[in-house]
Amino acid sequence: MYRAIGKSTRSFLGYSTRSFSRVVGSDIISPLIGLNDDQKEFYTLAKGFADKEMAPYAAKWDEEAVFPRDTLQKCAELGFGGIFVKEDVGGSALSRLDTTVIVEALATGCVGTTAMLTIHNMCAGMIDKFGSPEQRQQWLPKMCTLDTMASYCLTEPGSGSDAASLQTTAVIDPKYPDHYTINGGKAFISGAGMSDLYVVMCRTGGSGPRGISCLLVPKDTPGLSFGADEKKMGWKVQPTRQVIFEDCRVPVSNRLGDEGQGFAMAMTGLDGGRLNIGACSLGAAQASFDIALGYIKERKQFSKAISEYQATQFKVADMAANINVMRLSLRNAAALLDEGHPAATAHCAMAKRTATDYGFNVVNDALQLHGGYGYLKDYHIERYLRDCRVHQILEGTNQIMSHIVGRSLVA
């Protein structure tokens, strides 16, 4: 009797007993799903580049702490040096959504290198958006070709989350009119020592955010020096150093926007930067997930592939669902930022927190699925894990992300 009901139910619902075309494997959460034709091409280009020019070398770069400047140069040749910078200065004039797609693809190759590229792009974006016509022409063409690489200098030893309390000062010394004289120091600066241009938030006025301005400081400016390269858990391909200013003088014309606008500009830069850091976690998660999905089909224990155990299937299903959430969250926030939606900042903060927290956990799960092999550098997962741990901290800790959203929610 059961069988009879079963058959009629199946034919009623139109189920066929023959095999039908369906999506299997990692394609279920393919990054291409939901993209328009152009974005699919962008993704394919960036992923092809990551697979060929980054992934084969990422382990070596990490091991030897090598910064692949020439690989970044190749990125620039493809138009990745100024992804959302306007075309008149050599930018690619793409949207933040397009950028997210490109970044998640590149991050599968090497997280640390991609992250540095996104920081550089954030700086280029700030100059593009807030720079005067002269400043744009002076700096952006070379930044888009990555002849000039830029670093973002906000954090100080005494001001991380409390960024607006920064103490690096920039005053106009009467002996050097038309110049700002900068004194102070920045900490944890990605690319420090290697970058050609430093986008520095310093205090030109009173306390708090309104007293902060943004100055562009070229690398060879006298009075600019760097601390020792920090020994880090991950992002080993990037130098991370203190940036020290001792009577470092730059022309007033190197100021971006007006005095007192620096903090607002810095925060605007971070909205997009947070999306990109989230996208780096997404790329790391997707790459680790793909590796794990392959591994579990090959690894046999107790006479079967571990992919046949329900516990494993439930685990990868959770991982896939979370990757999907990360991706949708980031892309949606990017679309809001593109349209200038008033809630965009909150969405970028939420997406950053979701993507970086879930991303770390997906990579961690991928490591666990590998058993002992996951602990070995040869299997790459541990490098993705070490690299994306910091995404939960920089460009605003995830706790600050909660603070940004929470205070707005109850306002």
Binding site: V23, D38, F42, L45, L78
Partner: protein
Amino acid sequence: MRVLVGVKRAVDYAVKVRVLPDKTGVDLANVKMSMNPFCEIAVEEAIRLKEKKVAKEVVAISIGPKACVETLRTALAMGADKGIHVTTDVRTDQGISPLAVSNIIAHFAKNEEADLVIVGKQAIDGDNAQTGPMVAGLLGWSQGTFACGMEVDGQKLILDRETDSGTEKLSLKLPSVVTADLRLNEPRYATLPNIMKAKKKPINTVDAASLGIDMELKNTVVSVEDPPVRKAGVIVESVDELVNKLKNEAGVI
């Protein structure tokens, strides 16, 4: 000089294909497709001729379903000037004969007044390697297959060919058909600006049936099967035993 380049949309080289349960072919459903790697090399060589100001225009042609437009766009993003999409709904890995493909390409080589046709040496799905030589035969042009180096010298093409015994240097009188081998060049990436520019380049769409070319399959695929499962090796006790097995069992000496 005008160059016509054939680009085929084929299974991506990294995909692990599966055979259909009824053994009529490889399962292409939802499988990642890309431009055939040897076609990429062909496009790259054509673009380099344009950059050297030897070629005036590069036209890319692809035969297949709607999705071939993506393949043509990739060629345009690499630098081709315009695309020709010959539409057909048959499976392009085994549903269309190399002779039909060659007739189509020869037709457009004449239409486009091409002086040079460059195609990949073979497609990685069919692996026939027949299209290049057949196009040359149909057009009555000189041909150079397995090209690993190419220079234009006035009305002559100086070609390096990869052969089993080494590199052969040929001088061909244009017009010619060249098939690209692996070491001819390293194809460039498209760039973001070129991807956007490619959208403005024209793609002409032509129905294969309207060309008056015989599209009937003269060869049909009987079955497609997995290669035999690899058997375990055998430890031999002596050199004599090894030689005996090589001669009488493997038949290689």
